[in-house]
């Protein structure tokens, strides 16, 4: 009974998980070996008469994100704000925005109430790499300022928890096949020694 339930959950859980695992696995090759030239914008446009929040030179954290989103709605850009920066010397409010398939940089000249919007489309490799890295460890306080990023966070976590279940249930299912125990133990041990070797060497 336990075996049958475990086998079915391993199968159906694995089938649901498989597209997500493929995204994480395939993107590894691009993250490790791919290269793109940054700053090669495909379009640059200037939007005039932008309503700039009055305290934009002082806001920080979530308030700065809210100010950025106010500007994004006016210039027609949607996505996750990476960070915000106010340059006091030039009175420019600058922030990058990204989402799967698009990267943008918005440079607001506060005095002139004009925004320069630079955009770049990203291909499939960059999309999956973007998802692999999201939400990530940087700027935790403002990460998830775009709802789909928070939704992806849930699925990224689910991928991990399901992967843990799939691997543990897989070990149980393998152990039930007596004829494969010896070969399996050899491979499990070989994998353990390989990772211990890598970790020991890289830890020092």
């Amino acid at each position: 009974m336990l075996y049958r339930w475990t086998r079915d959950l391993h199968l159906y859980g694995g089938l649901f998980l498989s597209p997500f695992l493929l995204v994480f696995a395939v993107s590894v090759f691009f993250l490790n070996h791919g290269k793109v030239a940054p700053g090669q914008w495909m379009s640059v446009e200037t939007v005039q008469n932008v309503q700039v929040p009055v305290d934009i030179d002082r806001v920080q954290g979530q308030e700065a994100i809210a100010a950025g989103q106010t500007i994004m709605r006016q210039v027609g850009v949607d996505g996750e704000i990476g960070f915000t920066r106010f340059v006091r010397q030039t009175r420019h409010f600058i922030f990058p925005v990204s989402k799967p398939g698009m990267e943008a940089s918005i440079d607001v000249d506060v005095g002139a109430r004009a925004a320069i919007v630079s955009r770049r489309q990203t291909g499939l490799w960059e999309r999956v790499a973007y998802l692999h890295k999201m939400p990530g460890p940087h700027n935790v306080a403002i990460r998830g300022n775009w709802p789909p990023t928070n939704a992806w966070r849930v699925f990224a976590d689910l991928t991990v928890y399901l992967a843990l279940f799939i691997t543990i249930s897989g070990i149980y299912l393998w152990w039930a096949i007596r004829a494969e125990r010896r070969a399996g133990v050899v491979l499990l041990s070989a994998g353990f020694l390989t990772i211990v070797g890598c970790v020991v060497v890289l830890f020092h």
């Binding site: 590894v28 990530g136 460890p137 994998g191």
Partner: protein, 212 residues
């Protein structure tokens, strides 16, 4: 005769596909756990375990060096590293008149080096990471960033680790494709399996497509 042969070869293929599925899974299971747990740590910076991983020990020392030799800045950086006994991935090389700056990174920590080429001494600021931080860094330690075309791997151990990461990724892809074949052979499980797989494809495809 042909039918028997085809059936026999199909059976052999299916047997080996099944074996490959759990052989690859067993070999890579510890790697999968490592990347799963470090992935959680990276995505949840507010967790206590992630906050604990941020601890590091900073020190500083100065040392006299010989004039770095080499025809390029990278050659000179490698010569300085040799003199200081530093190993790891080189990043952020910048050359100003009379000075050379760079950092050397490893999962265990990094060193920021400022070389005064006129007075021939180096100021080194090493950061020693906690064990949890080293563990977390294994997830991202590839020595290359796709949005920085100039970044290259220059430490042998990074290349070994990247090979391991690629092998895990390739193993996962092979296991998944093989699992589709095994599932499809179970006629009784096809319908529900198709529903579950399509749910996964739609949910994942929604994010990859960027249609929001």
């Amino acid at each position: 005769m042909w039918g028997v042969s085809l059936s026999s070869s199909t059976r052999v293929l299916e047997t080996w596909n099944r074996k490959l599925h759990f052989y690859l899974g067993l070999y890579f299971v510890f790697f999968l756990w490592l990347f799963s747990l470090t992935g959680l740590m990276l995505n949840h910076g507010q967790w206590l375990v992630s906050l604990a991983a941020n601890a590091r020990v900073e020190t500083r020392y100065d040392r006299a060096i010989a004039l770095p030799v080499g025809s390029t800045d990278m050659d000179r950086v490698r010569d300085v590293m040799r003199q200081l006994g530093l190993v790891g991935e080189i990043e952020g090389v910048s050359r100003q008149p009379g000075s050379l700056q760079f950092s050397v990174n490893r999962p265990s920590g990094s060193s920021q080096v400022k070389v005064n080429l006129e007075e021939l001494h180096a100021s080194v600021q090493p950061f020693e990471n906690s064990h949890l931080s080293r563990f977390r860094n294994l997830h991202t330690f590839s020595g290359s960033r796709y949005n920085q075309p100039a970044s290259e791997r220059d430490w042998g151990l990074t290349t070994v680790w990247v090979f391991a990461m690629d092998a895990v990724a390739a193993g996962v892809v092979v296991m998944i494709l093989g699992s589709y074949l095994m599932w499809w052979r179970l006629k009784a499980k096809r319908r529900l399996g198709l529903v579950v797989l399509l749910a996964g494809v739609v949910a994942c495809g929604w994010f990859v497509s960027g249609w929001f």
